[in-house]
């Protein structure tokens, strides 16, 4: 199980290799990337802060829970910190699974739980100011479908 909070660039290849298993029929990868807008405002860049030791601990708990719930072979969860430019990857998840259905369902569950529970915060920086984002809801994570 690869779990990491880091200021370094997140590399999907490393996560994919870490979850590879001869029992897996599917490896599903999710990248959370920095978008240039949020709630109608133009975003310049994001600044992520973490409580790194606790964040890794909670990420590990969620990853273990996902293995128990969805029967994954292995899980990788990596979160980046520091200044991230538009298009850069802030969250990287890879899961390996016997079959694809669990990898999609469980991958989605993992992203949601990480956004709810892991002590990481993002600050949005605009051309004319900045603000800490408070809570996952403000990012529309609970919106069930496209707006």
């Amino acid at each position: 199980m690869l779990i990491r909070v880091t200021a370094e660039t997140l590399e999907p290849g490393e996560a994919i290799a870490s979850v590879a298993s001869p029992r897996a029929g599917a490896i599903n990868v999710f990248l959370g990337v920095v978008r240039d807008n949020n709630l109608g405002r133009s975003v310049h860049f994001l600044d992520y802060e973490a409580y790194p030791t606790m964040a890794e601990k909670v990420m590990r708990e969620i990853a273990e829970e996902s293995i128990a719930r969805f029967g994954f072979e292995d899980v990788a969860v990596l979160h980046r910190t520091g200044r991230l430019e538009i298009g850069e990857t802030s969250l990287l998840i890879a899961v390996s699974s016997g079959h694809r259905a669990a990898s999609f369902d469980g991958g989605h569950w993992l992203v949601n739980e990480i956004k709810k529970r892991v002590p990481v915060w993002k600050k949005e920086v605009w051309a004319d100011g900045e603000s800490w984002v408070e809570g996952p809801e403000s990012l529309g994570m609970q919106a069930p479908s496209h707006r």
């Binding site: 409580y51 030791t53 606790m54 601990k57 956004k115 990481v120 915060w121």
Partner: protein, 90 residues
């Protein structure tokens, strides 16, 4: 644990993050408290020292030694209490 000695001074480490750290102007400090202490009473002592963070309190969660904690949980000597604003990772 056995019986607790009352009114014994103890120290804990307090960690602040994100919006709360910016408002308080600090990220980490040591707090002296009397035993026994709960998360709620530690919070009162923190607010006495940094009243500027009062507006954040309704939305705060707490972690004791890297585990989410409740108001009534006991704070033990040398533990680390983190104030956790609403998380927004991902």
């Amino acid at each position: 644990m056995g019986s607790v000695a009352y009114n014994e001074p103890m120290q804990i480490t307090v960690l602040l993050f994100a919006s709360v750290a910016e408002r308080a102007g600090t990220r980490r400090f040591t707090l002296e408290l009397d035993e026994p202490t709960t998360v709620a009473s530690a919070r009162d002592a923190i607010l006495a020292r940094y009243p500027s963070i009062l507006p954040f309190v309704p939305n705060l969660m707490y972690a004791l030694d890297e585990e989410y904690a409740r108001d009534q949980d006991t704070v033990t000597p040398n533990s680390t209490l983190a104030l956790i604003p609403p998380v927004s990772g991902g």
